[in-house]
Structure formats: C-alpha cells, structure tokens
Symmetry: C6
Subunit: 248 residues, 6 copies
C-alpha cells in the first residue's frame, strides 16, 4: 500500500480518498483566475505544518511577491526557509531580465532544461524536500510546444527518482478543453482540474480529479471557494455545469 | 491589509469591494466598441481628482485626439499635465510614421521594448505616477504573439517595482473568448472583461471581474452604460446572457 | 459639440442619432451581397446633394463600371466630377494589369501604401473633399494580414488630419463573425455592420451600429431594403435573428 | 435598363426576375453533386436555342466526355460547334498531362493565367460569344489561394470587356459555408448557390440567389430537381432547411 | 443509354437504380470501420461471378492478407487469378519497405504516380479488366494533399480511357464531414458514403449515394449490415440520423 | 475459422464475441485517465495466466515503475520474466536521457524506427511472444505526424508476420474525436475506444469496439470500472452518453 501525502486543503483529501499517493507527479490544470497558484501554495504549507519540507519553483511571480502573496493567506514561509522546511527556486527573474540575485536557488536560463533540473535537484537534496510545486510548467515550453512531453517526462523522472510528490501547474486558456496538450496530460500520474465558469451571470468555482494513479478518488465535480485563509473544497457537494452553447 | 486604488467609475468600486488593490496590474479585456478606452481614461481621471498622478500611454490614437476624446467626457487633462498630475506617452506616432514631436514623452520604435520601458519609467518617475494605463498592450505584440508573455511580464515588473497600479488594455476580436492569450491572461494580477452582446436584436453592455489578486470581488456579471460623463456600472444588477448558438 | 455628417440614406441618420460625427473613420463591414458598396456610394451622393465634395476610391470595380452602377440608382456623378464635387481614384486597374489611363487619379502599385496615400491626399486637397469612401480597404492587405492594422492606422491619420469623414469598406466572408480582424476593428472610430441572413428559407437584410465615437446611436439591429433608388433603413423596426445552429 | 440573358432553365428566370443581367459575371457555387455543371451547360444550351453563341471552358472533364454528358441530357452541341454557335476550350488535358490535340482551343499551361485568358479571348471573338462558362474557376487557383482574387478579377474584366455574360463554377467542400473564399465572392456581380442537404435521411436539392447586380431577384430558397432533360427549378416553392447540428 | 455494372451487393443495385453506370469512377468514402474494403472487394467478386475481370490494387494490406480476408467472406480469388478473371496489384510492400516479390504486379515507388499508372494499365490490359478497386486512393496523397486532385484526375482518365468502372476508396477520419477534400470529391463521377454512427449507445451502419453521373439513384440514407457473407443493403429502409451535438 | 486471443479482462471477451482474433493489431485509443495502460497490462497478464508469452514495450514509464504499477493490481511479472513468459522493452529511457542499462531489451534512439523494430523482433523471438503491447505508439510519431501511417504499417507488418496479436496504445487529447489520426485508424485491424466523460457532474467510464477484423462484436457502448484488481467490463449494460454542447 502506497503512502499518502495529505494536501492540507480542507475537503481535498476526502476527494482524493486520503491524499495524493506518494511520489505521484500531478498536473494541476486550469484557466486564469481558477486558483491554481493558491492551491499549490496551500499544498506546500500543508506539508510544512506536517513537517514535510517543500519547494516552490517560481516562474510567474518574483519570489518576493510569492512570499507576500502567501503571507496574505497566513502562510508566512520566511521562518521555515531559515529552518530548512521551505525553499524557493527563482526561475522568474531569468525570464524577465537579470536582477540582483537575492535568492539562494536561481535558474539563469529557462531555455536550458538541464540547468533547471540541476538547480531543482540541488534544492530538493539540500532540504530533503518531500513536496515540489512548479508554477507553472507551461512557461517552460510556452514557445516550443514540441518539447512539452520531453520536459514533463524529465521532470517527472527527477521528482519520482528523488522520492518527491510534485504538482505541475498547467496554464490553459479560458474556456479551453483538455489539460495542457496530449504530450503533457498523458505523461503525469494525476490530473486535477480547476474551473471557473460563468453560469447565469455568476462565477462558480469547481474542481474535478480526472485521474490519480495509485488510489481511487471521487469521480464527481466538487464546488470550492477561495477564502482569506485559502481554498475550501466541498467533498459532499456536486456541481453540475449547465449545458452552455456559446459564441464560438 | 493592502491599500486600494479607487477607480472613480460609479459603481465599479463596489464591484471590486473597495477598488483595485495597490500595485496590481490589471488586464482590461474586451472586443471593439466595448468601452475599454473610456474605462481606462476614467480610471486616470479618477486618480487626478484624488490627487494621484497618472500616465496614459497612447498606442491607438494620436495624443491630441486622446486629449480631445477625454475632454468630450468632461475630463480635460491639459491643466493637470501642466501641474504634473497627468502625462501622456506618445507611442502612437511611432507606429504610423514619424511626425513633428510635440509630446514630451515619445517612444520612437515600438519593436524595442526596452526603449518603451525606459520612456515609461522616466515618465512615471518625473510625475510620481500612481496609475498607468497602456492602451493597448496588444499592439506591442500584435505581429509577434510569442513575445506576449515576455512583454507583459516585463511591464508588470516595472510597474509593480515603481509602486504603480496599472491597467493594460487588451484588444480581442468580436466574439472571441478568453482575454488575450494564455501568456497574457495568466501573467496579470487581475482581469476585468467588458462585453458588448447582441441579445434579441439589441446591444447590451456588461462587465465581469474574472480575477483580482488581493481582494474579494463581485462574482457576477454587471450591466453598465456609457453616458456623456463616462461609464456607470450597476453593482446591484446582474446580466444573464442568453444562451446563443451562432453561425460559426 | 462635434458636427455631424448626414448620410443621406433614408432612416440611417435616425439610427446614428443625427449622422456620422465629423472626421470619424468608419468601418462598413459585411459579407458578399450585403450592400456595402451601395451604402457607401449613397453616402457620397448624399454629400454631393449637400454641397460636400466626396471621393470614391475604387479597388473592386473599374471606375467606368462604378459610374454606371451609381447611375443605375439615379446617382449620376459625371456632372459633379466636372464641377469638382466628386472625384474617382482608380486603384482598380493597378490590381488587374495596366490599362489606358483614362482617370485623373490613379494608384499604380497597390503594394505601395505610400503612393496610395499620396494620390488620395492629392485628390482630397484638389476638390476639398469632406467625404471619402475606400471600397474596399480589405484589398489593401488581402495577402498580408499582418499589415492590416498599420494600413488602417495610416489611412485614419491622413483622413482625420485632412478633416475628412471616411468610410472604409471591409469585406468579410459569408457567415464570418467579427468585422475584419482585430487590427482593423479596434483602430476605427465607428463600425457599421451589414448582414444578409437566410431565415426560414428567406433572405433578410439588417444592419447594426456596433460602435460610433462621439455620439450615442441606436443599440438595435434594424432591417433595411435595397430599392432601385438605393438603401432604405427602418429605424423603428428591430430584426431579431433567430438562433441558428448550422453545419460547421 | 440593362438587358437580360435568359437562362433557359425552367423556373430559373422567374427566380431571377427575368434572367441574368447582361455582362454580369456570376459565381455558381456548390458542393459535390449539387448540379453545378448541369446548370452551367443548360445555360449555354439555352443560349444556343436563342441564337446566342456560347463557350464552355472545360477544366474538370475531357471535352469528349463533356460533349457526351451534354448529349445525355439532349443537348448535342456538335452541330452547333460547326455552325459557330458553340465552342469548347480544352483546359483539362493541360492539367492531367499532354495528349493528342483534338480540340481547336487548348490551354497548355494552367499556371499561366495570361495564356488562359488569351485562348479564351480568341475563342470569344471567333464566334462572337455572348455566354461563357468556366467549369471550374476553382481549379485555376486550387493550390495558390492567394491568387484567387486576382484570377477572378482578371476574368471578370475580360468577360465584361467583351460584352459576355459569364458563369464561374466554384467548387466548395460538402457542408462548407461561404461561396469560395472572400477574394472570390466579393469580386463577382452575382452569386447563385446550389445545395444538396440530407434532411431526415433524404437528399434535397435547393438553390438561392445570394446577390445579383442590376436586378431584383427572389430572396427565397427554391427547391429544384435534376431530370433527364436537365434542371427544373420551382420558383413558387420555398425550402426551409431544418436547423441541423452536426458532428463537427 | 449507358450500360450498368451490377455491384453484386444485395440491395445495392436497387439503391443505384440498376448498378453503377459503365466507366464511372466512384469515390467510396468513409471513416475507419465503415466497411469500405469489404464493399469494394464484394464489388470485384460480383464482377467475377458475372464473368467481368477485376483488379484490386492493395495499398493498405499485404496481398496475402487481402486474399485471406476475402476468403473469410467466401470470396476465394486464387482460382480466378489463375483463370485471368482477377489480379492483384501490390502497392503495399512499397510503402512499408521492400520484401520478396511474390506478386506479379508490383508498384515499387508510391511517390511516382507514373509508375503506379503504368503498372495499373498493364494489369488492366493483361486480363481485360472491367472493374478496378484502388484501396485506398488516400494513401497516394496522404502527405501531399496539394497533389490529390491531380492524382484522382489522372487515375480517372486512365480508367475511363480503358473502359473500366472504378472504385476509389477514400479514407476519412471518424466524424469528418465531406468525402476526402474538394480536389477529390469534385473530380469523380460518383460518391458513395459509408457511415458508422453511435446512436444512443449503439453503432449503426448506413450508406448514402451522394452523386452518380449517368443515372438517377435513391436519394435516401439506407441502413446496411456486414454479415459473414459480406454486405447486405436495405433499399426499402431509411436511416434518420439523430441530430447530435458533440464535444468539439 | 481464425483463433481467438482471450483478453482475460472480465466481460471484455463477451464484448468481443470470444476475444481478439489472432494476429490482429488493435488500436486501443483514449484520452488521459481512461485506463488504456491498465487495459493493455491486464491483457498481457491474461496471456501469462494462459501460458501465452507477452511483451510490454514501455514508452511512457520507466520499466521499474511499470512493474510496480502492475504489481499494484496483483500482476507481479518478475517471476514470469525469469520464466520467459514476459519481457519488457525499455523505450522510455531513450526519450528522457540515457541511464544505466538495467533492462535486457533497450531501444536507444526513438527516432530510428528500424532499431525499434529490431529490438522488438528480437524480444518476440526470444520468448516466443504471442502478445505485444506498445504503450504508447503515439510517442513514436508525436513530433512527426506525417510518419504516423508508415510507423503503424511497419509495426503491423512485423507483428502479424511473427504471428503476434498486438495492442497499440493511442493517446488522444481529452475530448478529441477520432482515434489518433487518419493514417493510424485506417491501418489497424481493430479499434477499441476507452472514454471518460463528465455527465451531470460525475465521471463515467465506457468503451466501444469500433471495428474488429475477423469477428462480429458488440455494437454497443459498455460501461466499465477500474477496480484494485483491474478493469471489469459490463457486457450486459449500455451507456448512452447524453448530448452535450460545450464551450468550444
């Protein structure tokens, strides 16, 4: 029986029948504003509270802003960075031009997946990480879709090889179906999809676990909310999205 | 608790539960004729009335016409330009051929994002701007979509780094879904979408806040009107767009 | 208060709440057979009757045929060409091979937008034109869509700079949505869309003003007819297009 | 008042309110099996019976087979070829490899639109043709869609210049909307669309005149049949195609 | 009156009002699993039983497997190959690498349409073939769609020139509309479409004759079955496919 | 009468009217999370239990993880590898960078289909394999779709030539129709499609046999479940998927 990693997100572990199976690499897929980043940060915070070191690889925000955003939900990671329970990998400044290097773990060239993996591997070993979030993996192949499968495969291999449970954040367009392309969605151990839908003039949040290797899981679409303490999932409620036919 | 920037648009701050959180960079997305330019100019005028200096980066209209259009709504910015409460960046004439340089802040080459950012940064520092509108950001990558994410990321970094709250106007096609492409819509702190829909032979205006970092906000679609004094949003009303199936 | 240009099309000025605001450059968009050319010629004829000189830039038909077609509706422009109230720019023969040069204003190379603008500017100045129709602007970028925004921007600047009110005819495919592409539809001051729809086995004509800078306007879809005296719009009637789901 | 060319197709002239206006170049558009070739051949036969010489430009079938197919409907053109009331232009063998040259008018290189036009012009002048069918014009630009508008424009200019009324057969895919692409459908004087639809398990034929310069025409969709004497149109009946939502 | 080729498929000749007109080249179009190959082999077997020699050009299966598959339906062609009533052209092994050359008629290079036609012509002349099946013609232009029209035109010319009635099997994707592309579907004398549709959880087979030069034919969609003796068509029954709206 | 290969999946052989016909090469097609890998591994395990040696070609997972995953369902293959009833071909490490070579059968270069086939052929001969699974075949042509048909054809020829019954796993995107592209879906002897659909907020699994050469089979869509002992198919139940119209 494979062990479980508790997400620490209220209601989510019930949806997952106990948590994410250890060493699984899970695609967390959703459009803009669906809560992917909050979900993944809450997952890391849940690990810290449980004594499981975690790493956040920042590709979309400056590490300083990431820390600030997390603190806004009550998840102040700075203390845990000092204690070796949390680490930040700065893969953001590489994408927007060089800046002073405040961070300990820095990826300098996003086009070099080998450097990316080397930095990630070092960080994992340094703190003995059990959880890793890459937010987002999409940015690693945004302008070279033919590389998507290879990038995801290499990441998965490194993470699984080091005994880490990983979340790969996958950015998709609003209203896009699928989870990030065939090369990506078949390569991962699990897929969690976050949705934000306009129904009768109101925005509704929901999530569905599309696949999860090594465990059964809820086969239903569950509503969730984003509160000022993070995400709350309702495992006992089901959202039925109305059939909507839209302008193309 | 992060501070708020009051939009000054009647009804809009209620929709935003108090205004746009400071330093957020917000995508203002909509098709032709939806009122994006009016919304963004009214936002700057609201700042001026509040003593907060603002900058309008003109990419779609000649600065002279921008001033005229604003004056048509009662927003005469010329006095405030002299007082240092408002500044115009002319990134329009660069796109349509060189002309006599009347403007103080001019971008000469739109293909050079570095120059664009340098001029913008200078203008922000000169007047101590608190609000910036780039109308439209779409023009900066219209013929090079692979650059969209990078451009938005760099702008966001500069604006946030200088303590500015920004609106990036995103032009989308009539009937197009999404907000301007995946690289753009995931990179910003907030998304406000303006819509113009034909329903039973009548055109209806509405807006919806799709995401806004650092605040809760209305999760509903609100009707709005364009009057001769600018936009008025109805925070207590909800527009339910009918299900429409259209010729593809 | 900006002045108005009366279209001279029965019913249309009511739809526009008084006419097109002076110096506006308006996209007249529609599929094949929707009446774009007739609308734009009638607009010029309305100007002539009002003492406002006008120019028709012919890109789709030989100037001789244009004059004949107009005469068929009772709009015989030849007398007014002599009086300097009307001028034709021949940008048609350039596209189909050189011919004897009967016309006074001729564009020889459609790939050279500068020449096009020079000829147009000369014609405008020669007769002191107040109205210009370019039929169609689509042909100027039909095989180079990345140039569309730039072409429209340059035309708009020239026309507005010379105090002219302009109609740019935009050809779209039957059943196509939008108005001619994002670069085009965001750059203009107004959009009028003409439609021809098959509803229950019958063809129905209608138009809708999608945007018009500087004026309020009807927000409804109005039926119109093409008679042997030109277009008649019904400002008091609304056409509700049925929801139609079609073979893709 | 422009003269009319009687199609000679039972019921069709009523649909056209008297026939096709002289010198119009009409796009006859339809999917496979809709009857385009039969319609256009019947149009030429109608001319012969009326003493108006006609030319069939064969691009899809060998001229021998064209004559045979026509004879199958009772339209034996061989006698009229000798009398100078009918001529065939062989633009077919050029497309499938060289063969012995039985025909009087032969186009040797379909990629050379100038040669095509020269041969066509010669044939028109030789017999004083009043009607021309090009079956199909699509083949002239099948592998170079950017040339479509230019080809149609040149053909239209030649035909109109020689006083000929023309039918350009436009092949579209089954279920495709539109009439053959924007460059084509805006350039012609008229559009007649032939349709073959499966409705409740039965195939139904219908046609609609989408536009026709110089005349009013029925604005309805009319059923028609293909008999062993050619096409019969029912001008007093209307076909309402059911709303059909199909697998994409 | 043109002669008819009896298909030998129970019910099919009634659908065709007597069979396929002699020398017609018919596109047999359908998705995977629709029964195209069985239909075409049964057509050849019907010819053999009628004393009309036939040729099967194998592009999708090894000739040995083709013979085996046919024998599985009770159509053992080996005896008839010896008697000169049947011949196989091996155009399969060329596509998957060279093998020992067991077959009498072999196409070595599928990229060389001239060699293909030479081999086919030789085989036709050797046995005096009256029927030819090319299964599938799609493979001849699968990676060069711009060549599709030219390939079909050349094949049609050769087959018709030699007095042969031909079936060109056209492979389309599941759920795809049309019959194999505009260049193909307009060039042939007839189109028979085979369909396999999931309706309320059950797979249903049906066919429809979309066009057939030289004969009237059923204008309805007929159900058919694949039995262990081949295809049986029900000319007295009509299948009405339900309107289905599917995920795109 | 062709022999049958029993899948060993409860309920599946009833659906197949006795099992997969010997030597058939079957496409097992489905989106992410549909159970393709489990189905194919269970098929091999069923063979082992029946004394029929089988080979799993791993392209998506490391061979060690494949063994672990199978063991999780109670299918511990290690003993059978030693006994020569099971073999693993490692075509995974080639795709993600070289690693220590633990495996007996290794493909080093996925771009070299000849090497792939050589290794596969050797493994088949070594253990006298009767069943082969390639998971997934999609990876062999993911970045070169024009090669898909050729790759599938070569594989089919090798497998059939060696008397093997094969399953080719085909990865398609969530919501995609078809089975993996026209070149692939027409080339195989059978197609089994696995589906995972969200219906009223719940995920439902079902499968349908789209084609299977050499046998009749259920023409219905059957629900199935994934249990901790593998897949269970319900041959007596039918799933009717609701008509769903979705955001595009």
């Amino acid at each position: 029986m494979v062990g479980r990693v508790r997400t620490g997100i209220p209601g989510m572990d019930e949806v997952l029948h106990g948590g994410i199976p250890e060493r699984n690499v899970v695609l967390l897929s959703g459009g803009p504003g669906t809560g992917k980043t909050i979900f993944s940060q809450q997952f890391l915070w849940g690990g810290i509270q449980n004594g499981e070191p975690g790493i956040y690889v920042a590709l979309e925000e400056h590490p300083l802003q990431v820390r600030g955003n997390m603190a806004g939900f009550g998840w102040d990671v700075r203390k845990y960075e000092e204690e070796g329970l949390f680490a930040m990998v700065d893969a953001f400044t590489a994408g927007v031009g060089k800046s002073r290097e405040y961070e300990r773990y820095i990826v300098h060239d996003l086009t070099d997946i080998k450097e990316f993996i080397d930095v990630l591997r070092t960080a994992i070993k340094d703190i003995g990480a059990k959880r890793v979030v890459i937010d987002s993996v999409t940015t690693l192949y945004i302008n070279k879709p033919a590389m998507a499968r290879s990038v995801v495969m290499q990441l998965k291999r490194v993470l699984a090889g080091l005994g880490v449970t990983g979340i790969l954040v996958s950015q998709i367009s609003a209203g896009e179906r699928g989870f990030g392309g065939p090369g990506v969605e078949h390569g991962v151990d699990g897929i969690i999809r976050l949705d934000l839908d306009e129904i009768d003039g109101k925005l509704k949040r929901s999530l569905i676990v599309w696949k999860m290797r090594g465990t059964s899981h809820s086969m239903r679409r569950h509503p969730f909310e984003i509160t000022d303490r993070g995400i709350v999932v309702y495992p006992d409620r089901v959202l039925m999205r109305k059939t909507v036919v839209e302008l193309d």
